[in-house]
């Protein structure tokens, strides 16, 4: 299920349709405050999938990422699980510092594997066009070219086991979550 971080690769020329089956979409009403001209609630959709075991909590060491595939297997499905050592949006664990993100740059599909910067809690710069993403803030772009944040993998913690259960955001190359 997990694989060595350095071996991950997302760069492919073509691949089969990623989310062929087993997909459910839950619609969540979320407050969309702070937005200049709109106080209305926005519909946010989160793709949820059959839960998948990723790692045991006790095996996860600070700043030592684990790369895993989700929600399917294949290049764009490569994700990173990290204990950041600082609290993060969507973080799990007693310190709320365990997060997971997809490793494909949302700009043009470059691989963010091996770009984790522990001191900055960031992924990037992408080797293609230098976008980087903040892992403490739901994958918001720190600087760069992308039109979407980096998809965050929704995590669950149960009996010391970490599970992936959903994807927050559209993974590069797709048109449907």
């Amino acid at each position: 299920m997990t694989q060595n971080f350095q071996n991950a690769s997302c760069m492919v020329s073509r691949r089969e349709f990623l989310f062929a089956s087993a997909l459910t979409v839950s619609t969540v009403m979320l407050p969309f405050s702070g937005f200049a001209t709109s106080n209305q609630q926005a519909m946010a959709k989160v793709g949820t999938y059959p839960r998948r075991f990723i790692a045991r909590l006790e095996d996860l060491k600070e700043h030592q990422p684990i790369v895993f595939e989700f929600p399917d297997s294949g290049p764009y499905a490569s994700n990173i699980l990290v204990k950041l050592g600082r609290p993060a949006g969507g973080g799990i664990g007693s310190d709320q510092d365990i997060v997971a993100f997809n490793l494909t740059c949302t700009h043009r599909g470059g691989s963010l594997a091996a770009t984790y910067k522990p001191e900055n809690a960031s992924l990037g710069p992408c080797p293609l066009h230098l976008s980087s993403f903040d892992m403490t803030r739901h994958g918001i772009m720190i600087t760069g070219m992308a039109t979407e944040s980096l998809p965050q993998i929704l995590l669950d913690l149960e009996d010391g086991n970490i599970f992936a259960g959903g994807v927050l955001g559209l993974i590069y190359g797709h048109h449907i979550e």
Partner: protein
């Protein structure tokens, strides 16, 4: 978990039947090519297989493919019917954004479009009149009648000078042509300036006087330079694709890229990590660094002697053309004043070597730039290689540089370019990077002889409209597509005067009776007050929301077809693809209707293309000369827009020439000394401007000019931080490039910077107890403003220290709120803010003292104190902002 900004939705794919419309990005100078895929919402959507969608690709798409995302899609009204549009960078282009690269700005163009159910729903849709303090909808006829009658009254009773105009310079050729035809040909008002200058003056006086065009290079020249000096900008931050498609490939081929800017962003970090170098000058000291580099070059005789011999004016060339006629142009008075002009290389060199401030030690001390780096820069730029071959060096400048010491910096850099052999050959060019796109064609000439502003020596200068307004002379302010106040230095002085002249004047409209409205506004004008017209796409605070008496809703990108050029003079047609909201009209239509009602002839256009066709003649001889495109269109029985549309996203680079067989040829670079034009000269309506193969000077050769530090140093030393002050400067943030029109209505961009920020160095933050995420007040009681005087008699009258001594400098207080971002990316002792947020305008802290030689603002110069006022909610929550470092490679 909190996930409100992570909306996902299915992105509909265009069916095979989708229409494809070409355009270019609305935003930065680079103007990437885009394709709009449009299909009715009632049509069947495309499928994920290549055979089932208009993109012709299988989903999921490959890296670098035409990927879609929610922010690239919207629904618009087209001929009254809802249509899907997917706006994607042109995957097939081999110019500008090669292979379909795009930025976070252009990539989200779809979200710019008006939608009644989205964040753009507050577009202005009908003319508004302020009645009892409230903006009230009125008809176009009503609004235009009032505007014309009040406008005519101002001109007849108070003179054209009292009719002030402040307008964008860039928002499409058709619009700027109509605006300037109205202002210059008919009104003939000198009370006119563009969105980013206090007066109608050049951005780069030193370039102009040396003979360099601002936009001579082609983008491939930035790639092909072996050494590239970039001053006052990080193109990755502000002109993304210019960096990723043209500079990054250069760096990957071994280009040595030197970035001179006090703030390190991702492009600087990339250059530095890949064999380049970061020079980090204190604001305003660039001239010293540039001349220290030049000094090292000439001390070592590394200058390009052959280029100088061939292309630099000697004493005869320098004086050629002078001594006859009026010396009443800025160019003539600057070059003949004795402060700048030289008799050629030897005199310039002697002068340079005799200025102690250009010694490496002094320049390094004041600028705070490591002397070793200055020496290395000189070597990279000019030291001949082991085999004797010269390095191909190019120089790019932008506002961080030319808005710090406008005349001095641009003079110094032009001279440095000349001695390293840059200016007229592939990979050896100098130019501006650019800000907005180039959309100005003037329909008349600025009436400088009518300007009341006079420099010492009886030379007239374009009127400082801000100072004129603050002095209370403007009776009518017609403001088009700019917030004006926040985009001027010393913003609060202007705001206070607007409040006095507009809001607090007793003559306020209290009914919608047209006669009474006109009567009231005339009374306001006659009582010394000011009437304000504002024309824009959104209601802007405060110029629209608080001060405007009349508001005209404008149609914009995608809502009308327009023409414009990018930073390599590439002209494209920006096609209309959806209906403008409500009754919004293109700017040219609004201006034309006011002009006609005022009795001015020649505004009876029926289409945007008709305006462009008229403007074509006025583009002749300019860098974006497209007259021959119009000639070709005429020969082929097409409109100009139809002809331009044939060029698609590739467009054509101006100036455009026509061959005998009717074929059109663009111009890759200006000053192209290797270009061979037909020996028989220009045929037909072609025009061969000197700058095609030589330079913009009296002889076609370059003027090597001095750049004295002491014309500016008194201001710099006076301004330098006292006590706990820090230098204060500002610029664009990548995600906020558009400075609050579209970007605050795009969730993905707004969440990144929902409030203004101030970048502060960790050492400066620590002593003040400031952490990232804190709310801070950035304030100063030393914001200097040049007020009242328009007349200089003695040579030094406009020099800062003289103005101060003679009581023409007013010190005011300004304060803006921001969220602190503590980062080593900003130089110690310097603060950096987003330059233009209408709610917290950084320019309020910038000294309102125009460069006294050029008349332009030095926006980047200011000082401020900073103190913590509390913690922002973003310090401990995770939904907005990022305080991560942006300067990592």
């Amino acid at each position: 978990m909190s996930a409100e900004k992570k909306q996902i939705e299915t992105v509909p794919l265009p069916p095979k039947s989708a229409e494809i419309i070409t355009t270019a990005c609305d935003y930065c100078i680079v103007a990437c090519g885009y394709k709009v895929y449009r299909w009715p919402t009632t049509a069947k959507e495309g499928g994920p297989a290549a055979k089932d969608n208009a993109l012709g690709v299988d989903f999921p798409v490959a890296p670098l493919g035409p990927s879609v995302s929610p922010n690239k899609h919207t629904v618009v009204q087209h001929r009254g019917k809802p249509h899907h549009v997917l706006i994607l960078a042109d995957q097939d282009t081999d110019v500008v954004n090669v292979g379909g690269d795009y930025s976070a700005l252009g990539g989200t163009l779809a979200k710019k479009c008006y939608r009644e159910d989205g964040p753009t729903k507050d577009r202005l849709q009908e003319p508004l009149l302020r009645v009892n303090g409230r903006l009230t909808p009125v008809s176009w006829n009503f609004a235009l009648d009032v505007a014309a009658e009040v406008g005519l009254h101002v001109v007849m009773k108070h003179g054209a000078h009292a009719f002030g105009m402040k307008t964008f310079s860039y928002q499409y050729i058709e619009n700027t042509y109509a605006i300037t035809k109205f202002a210059f040909l008919h009104l003939q008002t000198p009370n006119f300036s563009l969105h980013d200058t206090p007066a109608d003056v050049t951005s780069t006086p030193g370039f102009r006087d040396a003979g360099f065009d601002n936009f001579a290079p082609s983008y491939e020249d930035w790639r092909d330079a072996e050494t590239l000096l970039i001053c006052g900008t990080d193109p990755y931050e502000t002109k993304n694709i210019m960096f990723t498609q043209w500079i990054m490939p250069g760096i990957q081929r071994g280009q040595k890229t030197i970035m001179m800017v006090p703030r390190k962003t991702a492009g600087v970090a990339y250059a530095e990590a890949n064999g380049g170098m970061w020079l980090d000058p204190i604001p305003g000291t660039d001239l010293l660094v540039v001349n220290a580099i030049a000094r090292i070059i000439v001390e070592n005789q590394w200058e390009d002697q052959e280029w100088i011999r061939q292309w630099v004016n000697n004493q005869w060339g320098s004086s050629s053309g002078f001594g006859q006629g009026t010396r009443n142009t800025p160019w003539q008075w600057r070059t003949t004043w004795g402060k700048f002009q030289t008799r050629g290389f030897q005199e310039w060199k002697d002068w340079l070597l005799n200025q102690p401030e250009f010694h490496l030690d002094y320049a390094s001390k004041l600028s705070g730039v490591d002397p070793k780096k200055i020496r290395t820069a000189a070597e990279w730029m000019a030291k001949p290689k082991a085999d004797g071959r010269r390095t191909k060096t190019s120089i790019m400048i932008e506002k961080g540089f030319y808005w710090s010491n406008n005349t001095g910096n641009t003079n110094a850099i032009a001279s440095l370019a000349i001695i390293v052999g840059a200016g007229g050959r592939p990979g050896q060019m100098i130019g501006r990077a650019g800000g907005h796109q180039r959309g100005m064609v003037r329909g008349g000439k600025y009436p400088r002889n009518l300007s009341p502003e006079k420099l010492p020596g009886r030379r007239r200068r374009s009127l400082d409209v801000d100072r004129y307004f603050i002095s209370g002379h403007t009776r009518l302010a017609y403001v088009i597509g700019t917030p004006w106040l926040q985009s001027s230095c010393g913003s609060y002085q202007l705001r206070d005067k607007f409040e006095e002249l507009v809001t607090r004047n007793p003559n306020q409209v209290i009914s919608t009776d047209k006669t009474k409205v006109i009567e009231t506004l005339k009374k306001r004008v006659d009582s010394g007050g000011t009437v304000v017209f504002n024309q824009d796409i959104y209601l802007v605070d405060p110029i629209g929301s608080q001060f405007a008496d009349l508001i005209f809703p404008a149609a914009t990108w995608g809502e009308e077809s327009f023409m414009r050029a990018n930073g390599e003079r590439r002209l494209r047609l920006y096609n209309k693809f959806y209906d403008p909201p409500g009754q919004a009209k293109p700017d040219w239509w609004i201006v034309a209707n006011i002009a006609e009602r005022m009795g001015f002839p020649g505004f009876d256009w029926h289409s945007s293309s008709e305006v462009a066709e008229e403007a074509a003649r006025f583009s002749r001889g300019s860098r974006k000369d497209f007259y021959m495109v119009k000639v070709a269109a005429g020969q082929e029985g097409k409109s100009l827009h139809q002809k331009m549309n044939e060029f698609g996203t590739t467009g054509i680079q101006g100036p455009v020439l026509m061959h005998d067989d009717g074929r059109l040829e663009g111009t890759k670079r200006l000053h192209d000394v290797n270009r061979v034009l037909p020996k028989t000269g220009p045929a037909g309506a072609n025009r061969f401007n000197k700058k095609l193969t030589a330079f913009n000077s009296q002889t076609g050769k370059l003027n090597l000019q001095k750049s004295p530090w002491d014309l500016f140093s008194d201001y710099w030393h006076w301004l330098s931080p006292k006590d706990d002050e820090l230098w204060f400067t500002s610029g664009r943030l990548k995600e906020r490039w558009q400075s609050g029109f579209d970007d605050k209505r795009k969730a993905i961009l707004h969440q990144r910077f929902p409030e203004n920020i101030v970048e502060i160095h960790p050492a400066d933050a620590k002593t003040r107890g400031i952490e990232s995420g804190d709310y801070v007040e950035v304030y100063s009681d030393r914001v200097p403003g040049h007020k009242t005087t328009l007349l200089g008699v003695e040579a030094k009258d406009f020099q800062f220290s003289e103005l101060l001594k003679n009581g023409h400098i007013e010190l005011t207080r300004a304060s803006v709120k921001a969220v602190a971002h503590v980062t080593p990316a900003i130089k110690q002792n310097v603060l950096y803010m987003d330059f233009l947020r209408t709610d917290q305008p950084a320019n309020a802290l910038a000294g309102r003292v125009p460069d006294w030689i050029s008349g332009n603002y030095n926006y980047k110069m200011g000082v401020a104190r900073i103190r913590k006022t509390g913690e922002s909610p973003h310090k401990h929550t995770f939904d907005f902002f990022s305080f991560a470092r942006r300067d990592l490679a």
